[in-house]
């Protein structure tokens, strides 16, 4: 049986069509309504409330906590101030990505690492000889993401902390409705948003307080379908969908350098030694073989393909997660790993791995689409990520 999250008593009655899914061994809502339209709209229009408790969470404490994390991840943890959050991948010795997540510095010598997969063993292996304790707090920490343009307005009613001063990728330890919480200005939607970390035992009262306070501001519990649409618009990569962990890959081709999944900006080659640094340095000396880019499918082209079968274009209202070959002049030059119809941008989008030299923005390519049982190629163009990047995200 799958585990439930600390918010389950509140989320379960809302899942009208029993559209549950599994996430890291937990059962979470794909959507509360049968369709994700309204939940997605809340992300871009008001505030969507996601239960993100299934994330793995580790507390790393001790004199060598920073040293351990710095050895493990590609970003410079020694420069992470108290109250700062770093988004970062971590690699194996060959520079291939194992997982990605956030490192939050809670106090002088306490950090929280979040990840998509279990990392206890990897942390322990890297901690050999260090003065550090590693604790898996996944089960006893509930996590909510409140994302959308009104998220700050709602949270501010419940907390004494001044959220107007909380910058992007910073956190504050405070209370909400007298419940001790950590609020970080982070998320997976590319919008203004916050994540709230709470002791599992106080999860339900926190949910209730948020829902009561958010009612006048359009707060909307939202599931993974809505989250997936938003993260594709935001061009955010997803483990096991857009890339595979070097720890699970069966062949070399299934592994990726950070540069190849659009995370070049997270790679610090100048900091002290860390897993994969040598390989990453070496890789940077040559031309990057693959890039992770945006693809925008040409609507007229799609319309023509459907019209040829006597149909109007049909697009699913959830994101797709499948491999679609991408061609240029008849040659396959890569593959898309996820995509969606963006309800906001009114464009058909995909995230794709393309080979050099075809990944430059503006390159015209073709993407495979299946129209009425027939494999066709629709015109598309390479775009720089993210597709959507509102000012309010950082403002």
């Amino acid at each position: 049986m799958l585990k439930t999250t600390p918010f389950h008593p509140r989320t379960a009655p809302l899942v009208r069509a029993q559209t549950w899914r599994r996430w890291a061994g937990h059962q979470v809502a794909s959507a509360y309504d049968p369709h994700p339209e309204r939940e997605y709209a809340a992300v871009r229009n008001a505030a969507a409330l996601f239960d993100v408790s299934p994330l793995y969470k580790y507390l790393i404490r001790g004199r060598d906590a920073a040293r351990l994390l710095d050895r493990m991840v590609t970003r410079d943890v020694t420069k992470c101030a108290v109250g700062q959050v770093l988004y970062t991948p971590w690699c194996d010795a060959h520079g291939k990505v194992i997982d990605d997540g956030t490192v939050s510095r809670l106090d002088d010598a306490t950090y929280r690492l979040t990840s998509a997969e279990p990392n206890m063993r990897w942390l322990a292996m890297n901690a050999v000889g260090m003065d550090v304790t590693i604790e898996d707090v996944s089960a006893r920490t509930g996590a909510l993401a409140l994302q959308g343009p009104l998220s700050r307005t709602i949270l501010q009613q419940l907390t004494p902390a001044d959220l107007g001063k909380l910058k992007y990728f910073r956190l504050v330890q405070t209370t909400m409705h007298d419940i001790p919480v950590t609020i970080s200005r982070t998320g997976y939607t590319g919008d203004l948003g916050y994540e709230i970390w709470v002791d599992a035992e106080r999860a339900v009262p926190l949910w209730d307080a948020l829902m009561a306070c958010g009612e006048g501001f359009g707060i909307t519990p939202a599931g993974i379908w809505a989250l997936d649409l938003a993260r594709i618009e935001a061009g955010l990569v997803m483990l096991d969908v857009d890339y595979f962990s070097a720890h699970h890959a069966l062949i070399e081709d299934q592994k990726s350098f950070p540069d190849e999944i659009n995370l070049a900006w997270t790679v610090n080659l100048d900091k002290g030694p860390y897993n994969g640094r040598r390989a990453l340095r070496k890789a940077r000396t040559g031309k990057q073989a693959w890039a992770f880019v945006g693809i925008e499918v040409n609507w007229e082209s799609l319309e023509r393909l459907y019209a040829a079968r006597g149909l109007p274009p049909h697009l699913p209202n959830v994101a797709w997660r499948a491999s679609a070959p991408v061609y240029r002049d008849g040659e396959q030059i890569g593959y898309a790993t996820s995509g969606c119809w963006s309800p906001l941008l009114k464009r058909s989008l995909a995230l794709a791995h393309l080979q050099a030299p075809h990944y430059e923005p503006g390159t015209r390519v073709e993407i495979e689409v299946t129209v009425e049982h027939h494999r066709e190629q629709a015109d598309a163009v390479v775009r720089k990520l993210p597709f959507y990047d509102p000012e309010r995200k950082r403002a």
């Binding site: 049968p34 339209e37 008001a46 501001f217 359009g218 109007p312 209202n317 009114k346």
Partner: protein
């Protein structure tokens, strides 16, 4: 790209667009995108025409007139990149028709939930609904290409007209006999008769037929009303595009997004700039004269106003052939609807929502994020029409209600709400004429009717804005307050909109063009008239 500020410095333009309604703005954007130096002249202090958002009471924003978007052409959204300029359409997912004793008929966004709901009233209708939707899909597919074409003139032998007619003929032949016959029936029958062939549950027929009477001086039993049903389905075949719903910030934000797009292409948009007349010399336009006496010159002048204003108010009749003058004189406006906008201190307690203190069903918790339709029976609607036929407003009118603040919390302060009520019928030519007293009496009739279904309504109203067709005409300039710039009746559509031989956006005055909803394909926040006019101007020159 020329900037708006540099083009402001002199009074010569390539094109002047009269009226900053959404069609005028669309036309301006397409012309500017093609490199023309364009100015839009809007009489009011804000652009949008009938698609405006105004803060009538501090903190409460009303989509004063037009209140939802369904038919905005996807190609316009793409060509002008409207999402980048603020277009954001939020889902409006359900329609609930309140019935007596707290019962209701609901249509939800999920097909199974809707089927189960209809089956509660009539299992036969639940099946019919899916068959009906299937047929309407085909009918809408049949009609859709027409929306994107300049109407060919069947009386003309010009090669372009013949080509257009042949294309159209081929298109209809490709439908096959069954569907062609179905389409013919749809074009000629009344919506009530047509729906009688499909359904038995009266409130369902009434609610569906209501979409056939909106903005038109017809009742559900009037022949020709069935066709307008189809317009409702037109939005659904663009379903994948999901352009149906509620614009964030109200319909004014759609106009603003088009205006911003036009300006990004270099167009200049001037407000508080009423045009008095179009200047004509030797059968050709040379520009416009503003109400303040200023003159602007341009070889192309495009009117986004309705046909009466375009041909009667802005040019002298001596410039026009007599048959056009008489066609326009006979063009039917006959505004038939009004609008009541409410600022509310709380949500209305519709009796269908709750039972013994709790929601009647989990779905009901979301019901006020959709529409509420006051259309309990076909007879109710026909009676409402009867009042109007004899020159009175309906004592118990048809109403299409939405609560925009439930969808976009920015429309009202937290916990407060705005309610938009489209009301039919309210005849422009009211017995004795519209007065302040009559307006309030009309508002009272609306509230009295609503109170039957939402008992607390009177006590939660903080402000009430009542708009009669006379008010709509006075504020927006729409003749007789017709929301479509002229009725969407069959004799006023396609190559007859607005007049025979003048349905291709051109006018008898060289360089003077029309681009409003009074031209094909007509009303709703569709933008198609503005786009087709601009493309025609660009293709044919002045």
């Amino acid at each position: 790209m020329s900037s708006a500020t540099t083009s402001k410095s002199n009074g010569r333009y390539d094109a002047i667009v009269i009226g900053g309604g959404h069609n005028g703005l669309v036309a301006a954007a397409y012309l500017a995108r093609a490199g023309k130096k364009v100015v839009v002249l809007e009489r009011r202090p804000l652009v949008g025409g009938a698609a405006v958002t105004e803060e009538v009471v501090p903190g409460f924003k009303f989509s004063v007139f037009s209140y939802v978007v369904s038919l905005l052409r996807p190609e316009i959204i793409r060509d002008l990149d409207l999402p980048a300029h603020g277009l954001q359409i939020l889902p409006l997912e359900s329609t609930v028709t309140p019935l007596d004793h707290g019962d209701y008929l609901a249509g939800w966004s999920d097909a199974d939930e809707t089927r189960r709901e209809i089956a509660r009233h009539s299992p036969r209708d639940a099946e019919a609904a899916s068959r009906f939707g299937h047929l309407m899909h085909h009918m809408a597919m049949a009609v859709k290409p027409i929306l994107g074409m300049v109407p060919p003139d069947p009386a003309s032998l010009a090669p372009s007209d013949l080509r257009g007619l042949m294309k159209l003929g081929g298109h209809f032949r490709s439908l096959g006999a069954d569907r062609f016959h179905a389409l013919y029936k749809l074009m000629t029958m009344s919506s009530a008769d047509y729906l009688d062939e499909w359904y038995e549950f009266d409130p369902l027929k009434a609610t569906k037929s209501a979409s056939g009477i909106i903005g038109t001086f017809l009742g559900p039993r009037s022949p020709g009303s069935a066709y307008v049903l189809l317009h409702h389905y037109m939005g659904e075949i663009d379903g994948a595009f999901r352009a149906w719903g509620f614009q964030k910030g109200g319909t004014g934000a759609i106009s603003e997004s088009i205006s911003r797009a036009a300006q990004s292409f270099g167009a200049e948009v001037r407000t508080d700039a009423a045009v008095a007349r179009v200047l004509v010399q030797g059968g050709r336009t040379t520009g416009v004269a503003l109400a303040n006496g200023d003159e602007l010159s341009a070889p192309i002048v495009v009117s986004g106003l309705d046909p009466r204003r375009t041909f009667v108010d802005l040019v002298e009749s001596k410039e026009l052939p007599e048959d056009l003058v008489s066609s326009i004189a006979n063009f039917r406006f006959r505004g038939s609807s009004g609008k009541v906008n409410l600022a509310l201190d709380a949500l209305p307690n519709f009796s269908f929502l709750k039972d013994n203190g709790g929601y009647r069903s989990p779905l009901m918790a979301n019901a006020l994020r959709g529409a509420v339709s006051i259309s309990p029976s076909v007879q109710y609607l026909e009676r409402a029409y009867d009042d109007a036929k004899y020159g009175e407003f309906s004592r118990n009118p048809y109403m299409d209600i939405v609560i925009p603040s439930m969808i976009d919390p920015g429309m009202a302060p937290p916990g407060k709400h705005v309610m938009s009520i489209f009301v039919q019928y309210a005849p422009y030519k009211l017995n004795g004429g519209w007065t302040d007293e009559k307006r309030e009496a009309f508002g009272d009739a609306v509230i009295d009717t609503l109170e039957r279904y939402a008992p607390n309504i009177r006590s939660i109203i903080r402000h009430r804005q009542v708009l009669t067709p006379a008010d709509i005409e006075r504020i927006t300039g729409l003749s007789e307050g017709n929301i479509f710039q002229g009725e969407l009746a069959l004799h006023q559509l396609f190559f007859l909109r607005p007049a025979p031989a003048w349905a291709k956006y051109r006018t008898p005055v060289k360089g003077y063009w029309q681009c409003g909803a009074g031209t094909h394909p007509g009303g709703g926040i569709m933008g198609a008239s503005g786009r087709l006019a601009a493309l025609e101007i660009l293709a044919r020159g002045a």
